[in-house]
């Protein structure tokens, strides 16, 4: 019998005061051998993440970043706010600059608490029976579960969107997931002849999935500071969600190896899935692969290793979603809540012909029938991957090259086809639409300097690129989601923009402010053209030095931090150049009571032209159709700077920035302590010390957001600032 167990605990203090994260892990493994043919293997892992308070940064008065970076004065000292209760109103009323929209950051950190407690348990028991040489039978049952509890203590006098009575609240969000996978399979693994090896496997799987969640909240509190449901001022609001799913599967795989140079593989799987309609819930999907080791066939000189490979794999599934929020039908009944999604992989129930019944009037429900036409003949969605690659090493592995070309065909998908709402419905679930994601990945490794006793230099370079395009549209449709046509990239980004004349100048109205195009305009692509990383490692005797640079090139994003700091008057650029002059002059005019007629007392003239005569006519795409009726002149109309900014910078185009960035992500200097130091120790076998720095340099067009957090987004949110981290690691092996 083998047995091992491990346990670990870690504690991390957050950047924000009064925030932390605890992690506890326990693992046990044992293998019980009944005889030399039968054994029972078990493994159980318990993991708990827990904290009484995590920070919230999402946009809104609930966010520290919102209160501090966007809407507080740049000249305020946050430590002046440490004493946050009004005298005589302790526990009831915070002190702050105003009492309508914003919250004292210290009050938020100390009193507004968000607990997060999550227990993950997974484990399995497997019975292995070696029937004959090369033939095994395995019976395995595995569980994956989590139990999540989140709560929020929302203090009296704290205000947030939709909870303006500011009388506190208490919320609990509970979720449990249980999944069991039971497998039984036969495995054959033998060399059939000296030159041919065969691995074959066949078996069945039963997946059983259960999920339950509930969300309960008070509707204001009676007693300040008592976070209990019985303390609710108005009726409690509670919602729940549950789901169950079964998947019955049969599967097989075959791997054939011929003379160490040719490998062939094939798999197949049949699933019966409970989320699909009865007559289409059983489906098959296969994969095949082949690889050839050319270097085994011939001597290729400097090429010491060369392998070519190719594969095809198809996967089908239906009507499940990866992540879930609190009780999906009615997640945040009282208007406010930070959306937290946990892993799910369960039924979405999106093909149901059912009513939703939210509370609509005086706490009573109203029912609304689904706006999506369900499909009784719905087939599973399909995703197919084609991949070819080359792996080569040169000069005795001094140089290595790994090249992959991949293609994913996503489709036919389960697609909610938009239809005329005059049908009574807004969409119809069908099997349609194919998208293609195709790209290259190249990895190059090299060891320019190799010297066992001296300097060594290893380099690793990665480069990749992909594009995702629309390959097939539903029959009779030539555009989806308003803008996407056949062959278009899926990361085309359309959003608000000012109107421009035929020369590209911004068009202003009679009050000197930019006119906004009524239709979203194409602003660029949100995905990068390519992604790169370079890792260098130098070592000399006991010292090594390692650093990684990486980044992305191409793509655009709307910088929301810039948008809001402009509109709130917090952006540095509003104090510089023409804007700075206008801002100061506006302030002087206001001080002198000359803040009346913007066209006389204003001090900012927007760059561009002004519509002098004519009524702009747009087509459905926001393209101007009557240029000949319009007359423009240089814009000379003065306005107040903040009015100008508030309008122009409310458009996404004005806040668009390049997503190109690079980072010096990590630098490590390590000293390996000489072995002889420990020669006489029975206790310590080796030790090293390293200095580690992370996120040391960041290059980007604008640095008020960390693009690393918005890899696929075209619109940034608020984020906790990315910290430069420095540390010392001491590593001792016993």
């Amino acid at each position: 019998m083998d047995m091992r167990f491990s346990t670990s605990y870690n504690y991390q203090q957050g950047m924000v005061p009064n925030t932390q994260l605890n992690g506890l892990n326990f693992n046990v493994y044992n293998n019980l051998r009944f005889n030399n043919r039968i054994s029972l293997e078990s493994n159980l892992n318990y993991n708990r993440q827990f904290t009484d308070n995590i920070p919230d940064v999402q946009y809104g008065p609930n966010s520290l970043i919102y209160n501090v970076i966007l809407w507080a004065g740049a000249d305020w000292d946050v430590d002046d706010m440490k004493n946050y209760w009004q005298p005589g109103k302790e526990g009831v009323q915070q002190i702050y600059a105003e009492y309508q929209r914003y919250n004292n950051p210290w009050f938020m950190a100390q009193e507004w608490l968000r607990g997060h407690y999550k227990t993950d348990i997974y484990g399995q028991t497997a019975l292995n029976w070696n029937i004959a040489k090369g033939l095994d039978f395995k019976l395995r049952t595995a569980i994956t579960t989590y139990d999540l509890f989140r709560n929020e203590k929302f203090p009296y006098s704290a205000t947030v969107y939709g909870r303006e009575e500011a009388r506190g609240d208490y919320r609990e969000d509970k979720r449990t997931m249980f999944e069991n996978n039971t497998d039984a399979y036969l495995n054959f693994d033998r060399n059939i002849t000296d030159n041919i090896s065969l691995k074959a496997l066949a078996g069945g799987n039963l997946r059983s999935f259960n999920y339950e969640s509930s969300y309960t909240t008070t509707n204001y509190l009676n007693v300040p500071g008592l976070y209990s449901f019985s303390n609710t001022a108005n009726p409690l609001y509670a919602s729940n969600f549950r789901s169950k799913m079964l998947v019955q599967s049969g599967y097989y795989s075959l791997d054939l190896g011929i003379r160490n140079f040719l490998y062939l593989s094939h798999t197949g799987r049949v699933d019966r899935l409970s989320t699909l309609p009865k007559n289409s819930n059983t489906f098959y999907y296969p994969s095949v692969g082949a690889s050839v080791l050319i270097s085994e066939l011939a001597d290729l000189g400097p090429v010491s290793y060369l392998k070519l490979r190719g594969s095809y794999a198809n996967v089908k599934e239906a009507l499940t979603t990866r992540y879930i929020g609190a009780t999906p039908a009615d997640p945040y009944p009282l208007g406010y809540g930070s959306y937290y999604s946990s892993t799910y992989d369960g039924p979405s129930y999106s093909n149901a012909s059912a009513y939703s019944s939210p509370l609509v009037y005086n706490g009573q429900p109203g029912s609304y029938f689904t706006n999506t036409i369900a499909n009784a003949g719905l087939q599973p969605s399909s995703r197919t991957n084609y991949e070819t690659g080359l792996e080569a090493r040169f000069f005795g592995s001094r140089i290595g090259l790994d090249v992959t070309y991949f293609q994913y065909i996503d489709g036919p998908q389960i697609f909610a086809l938009p239809i005329s709402e005059a049908s009574g419905y807004t969409s119809q679930l069908i099997n349609a639409v194919k998208t293609k994601k195709a790209g290259w990945e190249v990895g190059l490794t090299g060891s320019p300097i190799r010297n066992a006793d001296g300097l060594n230099w290893d380099v690793m370079v990665n480069w990749s690129t992909y594009k995702e395009t629309l390959e097939e549209l539903p029959e009779g449709t030539d555009v989806i989601n308003g803008f996407f046509r056949l062959g278009d990239r899926l990361d085309k980004y359309y959003d608000s923009a000012p109107v421009r004349d035929q020369q590209g100048n911004i068009v202003h109205d009679a009050s000197g402010r930019a006119i906004r195009n009524p239709v979203a305009q194409f602003l660029g692509y949100s995905n990068p053209d390519w992604v790169w990383a370079v890792n260098n490692k130098f070592s000399w005797k006991n010292l090594s030095f390692n650093f990684q640079f990486d980044g992305r090139v191409g793509g655009v994003i709307t910088n929301y931090v810039q948008r809001q700091t402009f509109r709130g008057g917090r952006h540095l650029a509003t104090t510089e150049g023409e804007m700075g002059e206008a801002r100061y002059a506006d302030w002087v005019n206001q001080k002198n009571g000359l803040f009346t007629d913007p066209q006389v007392n204003g001090n900012y003239i927007g760059d561009g032209v002004r519509l002098v005569s004519g009524t702009i006519k747009y087509d459905q795409y926001g393209t101007i159709t009557n240029w000949d009726e319009l007359e423009f002149a240089d814009n000379t109309t003065k306005t107040f700077l903040q009015d100008y900014i508030s309008r122009l910078y409310a458009t996404s185009e004005a806040n668009l920035m390049s997503k190109t960035f690079s980072k010096l992500r990590e630098v490590t200097i390590t000293y390996q302590m000489p072995k002889k130091w420990f020669q006489n120790s029975n206790f310590i076998r080796q030790a090293n010390v390293s200095l580690v720095g992370r996120n040391l340099l960041y290059f980007a067009e604008k640095k008020d957001i960390d693009l690393d957090q918005y890899i696929t987004n075209n619109y940034s949110g608020l984020q906790s600032p990315t910290a430069k981290r420095y540390g010392v690691n001491i590593n001792i092996t016993f």
């Binding site: 019976l139 169950k244 019955q248 019966r272 129930y349 609304y368 239809i419 049908s423 913007p598 107040f640």
Partner: protein, 496 residues
């Protein structure tokens, strides 16, 4: 080996337990129902009917203005309107649910169903023009329905209203008390019947430019109702108003103590409304607005009508904001609109409007009766909703006293209807302006948007352009001679 046997049995048990679950039942969503009582569907529809006050619509009706460009401006729309077909689908579902619980074929829900069809089709066609009707609401059977002309839609609206009246008459005679979930009238079918007929008169009056159309027979239909109020009962007081009542815990009035700090000063009154009230020396101005601070500083008092001045809705927002800060415009009366959560009921179809619609029809010679009497009744009823009971001195003023069945009398009626519909009845005031030009809306300045022009219609939803392209383009060409879906093009109902 003994242990092994037990373990094997245990594993077999787990497998068996899983398979026992009823596989085929798992497709259905256990969190939502496929059948509900018709009353729940009704409640949803009734909530959908409500046009809340103090939104974009109230600014487009020129009752108030935003002076705070971070959130809002006073510009007119540039795009499409929401259509109401998904609500109409719920109307059909409600009727089906009523059949499912074995109510008679003609029942209270089906009678209201006819009214809802009339209400929502009117709502849609007034916004965009032609819309699908005969081929609409068929679900998967027709996902790209052809459009019907505005005339055909409005003709059918009148038919539905007649049918609703007939069916309600029958249900009232049968003492039907099956209607539940009625947030407006608590199931009182008589009040619904009055609403149906009042609404019919609204539709007919909005068709004034088509009063000569023989197919529609606007005049005949109007006098049919007015000439037989027993068969076609209409509202008789504010107690019959179809109105949305706000509450202090749920459904708070849009302006309330919670948002006092946001809205009270960021929005101010509009001149089209306030200046009209002030010019008529109308006491309602004291209730809805505060005197302009600059006027008080200049020596006027809070009871002087000169102290009440609203901003021109077409003024540039930067200019309006600075003038508001200088106290040049009247703000919203905070005491009335911000001191509690219930505010005032939001009237969707009301008695005052009915009075003015009848007065207009008589003025136009569609029916016989005393227009001046209806006009006075409408004013008195509107005053009552503001707590003003002594109306006689106001009515006696020369500029208020009904000028007779002539053009000035008509303008008086339309102006008073506009004043009575402040914050009420959705886009009705805009439609009346579109039809008659009364009262004169502020237009032309940079605050209007759309190059200074108030649009005449909404675009169709972009989903029609993309998913019902052929029918959409055919409808546009038929109506406007082009396919650009222009908000400045005139609808059939507006053409003389």
């Amino acid at each position: 080996m003994k242990q092994f046997r037990y373990i094997f049995m245990l594993a077999a048990l787990i497998l068996a337990a899983d398979s026992c679950q009823k596989f085929d039942e798992l497709e259905a969503d256990p969190n939502r129902s496929t059948q509900v009582p018709p009353s729940l569907v009704l409640r949803g529809i009734l909530v959908d009917m409500n046009y809340a006050p103090w939104g974009d619509i109230s600014r487009w009706n020129q009752y108030w203005c935003s002076n705070y460009n971070y959130y809002d401006n006073n510009e007119y729309w540039t795009g499409s309107a929401d259509l109401r077909f998904t609500t109409l689908k719920n109307v059909i579902r409600m009727e089906e649910e009523a059949q499912r619980i074995n109510l008679p074929v003609v029942n209270a829900y089906s009678a209201l169903g006819k009214f809802f069809r009339a209400f929502f089709y009117y709502d849609m066609t007034m916004k965009v023009g032609d819309i699908p009707m005969n081929q609409a609401l068929l679900g998967a059977e027709n996902v790209a329905p052809a459009y019907d002309t505005q005339k055909d839609v409005l003709k059918q609206v009148l038919v539905w209203l007649d049918e609703a009246n007939t069916d309600l008459t029958a249900r009232i005679a049968a003492s039907d008390v099956s209607l539940e979930g009625d947030i407006y009238f608590g199931g009182d079918l008589r009040k619904w019947q009055k609403t149906v007929n009042a609404f019919k008169l609204r539709v007919l009056v909005q068709l004034s430019k088509k009063s000569a159309d023989a197919d529609l027979n606007v005049k005949g239909e109007f006098s049919k109702v007015l000439g037989n109020l027993t068969a076609y009962p209409v509202m008789e007081s504010n107690g019959d108003n179809l109105q949305f009542i706000y509450g202090s815990v749920f459904n708070k009035y849009p302006f309330n103590p919670d948002n006092f700090g946001f809205y009270a000063d960021r929005y101010n009154t509009a001149g089209t409304y306030i200046n009209t009230l002030a010019a008529l020396r109308d006491p309602r101005v004291y209730v809805v607005a505060e005197p302009a601070a600059a006027k008080l500083a200049a020596g006027f008092t809070a009871t002087d009508f000169e102290s009440y001045i609203g901003a021109p809705s077409d003024e540039g927002l930067d200019e309006m904001a600075t003038k508001v800060q200088a106290g040049e415009y009247s703000r919203i009366n905070k005491a009335r609109f911000f001191s509690n959560y219930v505010g005032e009921p939001s009237i969707q179809i009301g008695f005052p409007e009915l009075c003015f619609n009848i007065a207009e029809a008589i003025n136009r010679g569609w029916a016989t009766g005393n227009a001046g009497e209806w006009y006075n009744k409408g004013i008195t009823a509107s005053m009552e909703t503001y707590g003003i009971t002594d109306v006689a001195p106001y009515l006696a003023q020369s500029q208020v006293a009904y000028a007779g069945n002539n053009a000035s009398g008509l303008t008086q009626v339309l102006v008073q209807k506009y004043l009575a519909q402040a914050q009420h009845s959705g886009l009705e005031s805009y439609y009346t302006w579109r039809r008659t030009g009364v009262p004169a809306f502020a237009e032309g300045g940079p605050g209007t948007g759309n190059s200074g022009v108030i649009p005449r219609r909404f675009q169709y939803p972009t989903s029609e352009r993309d998913n019902n392209t052929d029918n959409y383009q055919a409808a546009l060409s038929r109506q406007f001679g082009n396919t650009t879906d222009n908000i400045n093009d005139k609808l059939w109902i507006e053409k003389d």
